[in-house]
């Protein structure tokens, strides 16, 4: 266990984030003159800096003490999470200034959440992964209940926190069993252990696998482990909802994909069906219940559950193709979702309302926001010109390639269902009569953020090749090992 690579500089982005977090807190403490939204811009700069720094390791492939792997996969997600943090912070600035206390801590927690997410994507080992996961979760627990005096925020936080603890206990128990049967916590080693004959310790192995699926399923909100999602989303302060929707899912799937690709791929044929069924159940429930929602946050929560179902399709059809398709869809989805949430945030900043009826006539009062929201929603529904269509198409095709045509069918059917409730929002905005005719004031910063995201939606929708190239290079590395073991996908 000697000659470990302890080159700390590999962790520069994380150090930057942590340091920046501390700085923000201190700024908040000692520089009273600094406006709370300006504080946000400082924090955003931190996220951006970390993102840029992490670009250093493009096409690098090394590891830190066998725990943290710095390769394209990591870099991809470092950049991804960094940008998520960046946009989330920018989107929150005005909201935090007007509605929340403790701005410094708020931003610091977002930055720390990004650190946790990076850890989840980077770690090649269960302990590190678990700890990072807890770092992310803790930050989110706090952020969700950040509106101290808002009962709903409080309740959401409580449910999220307690269930989170419960599920991480389950996850740990599973990890324990896996450790028990394989004697290792490194993904690669576990994978190697499982390639052989496992019949002697199947019992513990599959119980452990089931528990791990449950634990990760909770983090990414798969049915039936999803129930915290709507409440947490609805309770949380809006920007936090956006953050949770984006980063916890993204990080969850980063880990999910890496773990299953590197460690559990040999057992693919055993667990594929379970994931497939989970995926189906998730997308069905998420989309059908979403029809019934009248609160836009809750609706987006359920729609995100539905999206998790689609993403799980990628896990079920696990193969290098499906992996890259999954990440591609993940990126597209997160961009779109952020765009949608930014619209909701802007509207909330104006009116403090979040019921769908209250969006009536938005097209009159703020055409740009209405248009962007429509774009985002149609993209979520998987309509062409927008990100959703291309990414979904490729993801589901990947599933079909793996003999999961039925699952792809369910997925398509459900994204058709989703179109219905997205259209109801569009109807409100374009057909509803606004209570007053006046235009809303223009928040340039948010509009800038929104424009960028919408541009991203169109870019992914109209020319995904570059992004797809990057993604594929990113995901290639996590399959390299198992390809050596010759256990990729089906024969």
């Amino acid at each position: 266990m000697d000659d470990l690579n302890l080159q700390w500089s590999l962790l520069a982005p994380e150090y930057i984030l942590v340091g920046w977090a501390g700085m923000v807190v201190l700024l908040d403490l000692f520089w009273g003159g600094l406006r709370k939204d300006q504080l946000g811009y400082v924090a955003a700069a931190g996220a951006l800096a970390a993102t840029l720094v992490s670009l250093i390791w493009i096409n690098d492939d090394t590891d830190f003490a066998n725990l943290i792997q710095i390769n394209n996969y990591t870099t991809l997600f470092r950049v991804f999470f960094g940008l998520i943090g960046f946009f989330a912070i920018l989107a929150s600035a005005r909201y935090v200034r007007d509605r929340l206390l403790h701005a410094g801590e708020y931003y610091a927690l977002i930055l720390l959440a990004v650190v946790g997410a990076n850890g989840m994507a980077a770690s090649g080992e269960l302990l590190t992964a678990y700890v990072s996961l807890e770092l992310l979760s803790f930050s989110l627990y706090v952020l969700v209940s950040f509106a101290k005096f808002d009962h709903r925020s409080n309740e959401g936080g409580l449910k999220y926190m307690l269930l989170g603890a419960f599920s991480s206990a389950i996850l740990l128990y599973g990890i324990g069993l896996i450790y028990g049967v394989t004697g290792s916590t490194h993904f690669a080693e576990i994978g190697a252990q499982l390639t052989g004959d496992t019949s002697s310790f199947d019992m513990a192995l599959f119980l452990g696998l089931a528990l791990i699926i449950a634990g990760l399923g909770f983090k990414v909100a798969a049915v039936p482990f999803h129930m915290w999602t709507p409440d947490a989303y609805e309770g949380a302060p809006l920007p936090v909802t956006a953050l949770v929707a984006a980063i916890s899912k993204a990080a969850g799937f980063a880990l999910f994909l890496k773990l299953f690709a590197e460690a559990f791929l040999p057992l693919l044929d055993e667990w594929r069906l379970f994931i497939a069924v989970l995926a189906a159940a998730t997308m069905i429930l998420g989309n059908l219940v979403a029809i019934q929602q009248h609160n836009i946050k809750r609706l987006l929560a359920y729609s995100s559950i539905g999206q998790v179902g689609f993403l799980l399709v990628g896990i079920a059809a696990l193969s290098p193709e499906a992996g890259s398709a999954l990440v591609l869809h993940l990126v597209g989805y997160v961009i779109t979702n952020l765009a949608a949430f930014v619209c909701v945030i802007i509207f909330y900043n104006w009116t403090g309302k979040e019921e769908i009826e209250e969006y009536a006539g938005l097209a009159e009062r703020a055409p740009f926001v209405a248009l962007s929201l429509s774009v985002a929603l149609f993209s979520l529904a998987g309509m062409p010109l927008f990100a959703g269509f291309a990414t979904k198409f490729i993801l589901f095709q990947a599933a079909a390639q793996e003999d999961l045509l039925w699952l792809a069918g369910v997925a398509v059917l459900m994204s058709f269902v989703s179109l219905y409730y997205y259209l109801t929002i569009v109807r409100q905005m374009y057909l509803g009569k606004p209570e007053e005719e006046t235009r809303f004031p223009t928040p340039w910063l948010e509009y800038g953020v929104l424009a960028t995201l919408v541009a991203g939606v169109f870019l992914v929708g109209l020319y995904p090749q570059p992004l797809f190239d990057v993604v594929e290079q990113g995901t290639a590395v996590i399959f390299s090992g198992s390809q050596a073991a010759g256990a990729v996908g089906k024969p």
Partner: protein
């Protein structure tokens, strides 16, 4: 049956008893006390597993910090005034689920033939442990510290009362 086994069974019974107390006691305070019992006996189990260091950690962190914290919380939330019973409506389902899970996990524990030595314990010295902890496992260690930091911040922000409250 060897005396070690005897000790084990005693400890195990105490542990389970404590656990039962935690989940069954009508009064929250009793539950808390049972928890302490359970935690201490788990520490004993650790010793039986010849992981003394962990036993110490266990006693310090749990027996000390956690339970104190819990008791403080109970005082602050005046849970004594809470209406009894402290059990929810879905108790039977809970029993069912827990029972089922118990069955599965015990089955898994017993039916699996664990690779390697299942009878003999090899003692791990404290220095090896420290060595590994601060060298090999430095990263999780650091991240864990961040976790604690986050918990700290969260605790402060959420627990402390703002002006006007």
């Amino acid at each position: 049956m060897t005396y070690e086994e005897g000790i084990f069974y005693v400890v195990a019974v105490v542990t389970v008893a404590g656990a039962l107390g935690v989940v069954l006691a009508r009064s929250v305070v009793h539950a808390a006390l049972f928890l302490i019992l359970a935690l201490l006996s788990v520490a004993a189990v650790f010793i039986l597993l010849s992981a003394e260091f962990l036993a110490i950690v266990q006693v310090l962190i749990y027996g000390g910090a956690v339970t104190i914290l819990v008791l403080f919380a109970m005082m602050l939330t005046r849970v004594r005034d809470l209406p009894q019973p402290s059990d929810g409506a879905q108790r039977p389902f809970a029993a069912l689920a827990a029972g089922a899970f118990l069955g599965i996990s015990v089955l898994a524990a017993v039916a699996t033939d664990w690779p390697g030595e299942t009878e003999k314990i090899t003692v791990v010295t404290l220095n090896e442990l420290g060595e590994a902890l601060f060298r090999t496992w430095a990263i999780p260690f650091e991240i864990a510290s961040l976790v604690l930091l986050v918990a700290l911040i969260g605790g402060i922000i959420l627990a402390r009362s703002e002006e006007g409250e």
